[in-house]
């Protein structure tokens, strides 16, 4: 039993086939990319958008580390540092390093001195001291 002789083709088929196949390039020309194509029309706009985006990204990357933080943030950070470094009440004094500043509140002497400086007479003060029971 032969392997190929059991099927055949029309007379001269392969010559005609080659001719037809040879016409494929002419019937299906390749699309050449021309400057009038959509890509080239949109390229300038894409370039502008990409440049703008690059400027924004570089600008934010450069400016962010040097930006002054908001005031609230600064005080929150200073308070946090103060508490962390000296939980017993140490306060930061400009130019003098750390020292303890006791908060004693207002004493009667402070009030008396303030009132005297404000022009209140000693008699009047004595009267007030009597009224308040000092």
């Amino acid at each position: 039993m032969s392997k190929r002789n059991d099927i055949s083709t029309p007379e001269g088929y392969f010559d005609a086939l080659q001719q037809r196949l040879g016409e494929i390039p002419a019937r299906n020309p390749r699309k050449k990319v021309s400057p009038s194509g959509a890509f080239y029309r949109l390229a300038p706009y894409a370039a502008i958008a990409a440049s703008f985006l690059a400027i924004v990204m570089i600008g934010s990357a450069v400016l962010r580390p040097t930006a002054v933080p908001a005031e609230d943030d600064t005080w929150t950070y200073v308070s946090y540092l103060a508490d962390a470094l000296d939980p017993d009440g140490a306060a930061l004094v400009d130019g003098a390093g750390w020292e303890v500043e006791e908060d004693e509140g207002l004493t009667p002497d402070d009030i008396v001195n303030y009132l005297l400086a404000d022009g209140i007479s000693v008699e009047h003060l004595n009267y007030l001291s009597y009224e308040e029971g000092y």
């Binding site: 039993m1 059991d6 083709t9 196949l21 494929i24």
Partner: protein
Amino acid sequence: MDGVERRFNEIVKEYSERVYWHVRRLVNNHEDADDLVQDIFLKIWTALPSFRGEAQLFTWIWRIATNETLNWLRRERVRASLRFTTIDAEMERRIDDDPFFDGDAADRALSKAVARLPEKQRQVFVLRYYDEMPYEEMSAILGTSTGALKASYHIAQEKVRAALGHDLFSGSD
């Protein structure tokens, strides 16, 4: 005529006949084989600029031919089911109706037995038995190991032998 077109024309001269016979064995009809060969070469023309030569040209062409033919067979299976018939029956009808089938009854029985094989087994059988292609080349085309191809061909042989009722392959692997 540019370089790609020149190369395409060389491919047409070199491979069109071999591709036709391969396709014809799989589709069992001259007209369909003719249409399919045109589709295959149109695909080759479209893809030729992207062919970088990593694969051998022969392997690349055969891979396109194989994929196109398998796709055609799958579409034909769907068409057959829409006509309330099977692809096997459709293939047998094609063999019987093919005016360019010149073989005797035994040839016809062999063609029908091959047509009843599953698609991939049929492809392996046609490449090995009719095209006499080495397993290494088949492996490069089909992306399957030579061991698996040998096993597939052996199973296909057994099925064809059982269908024919006699040993056709004595002396072949």
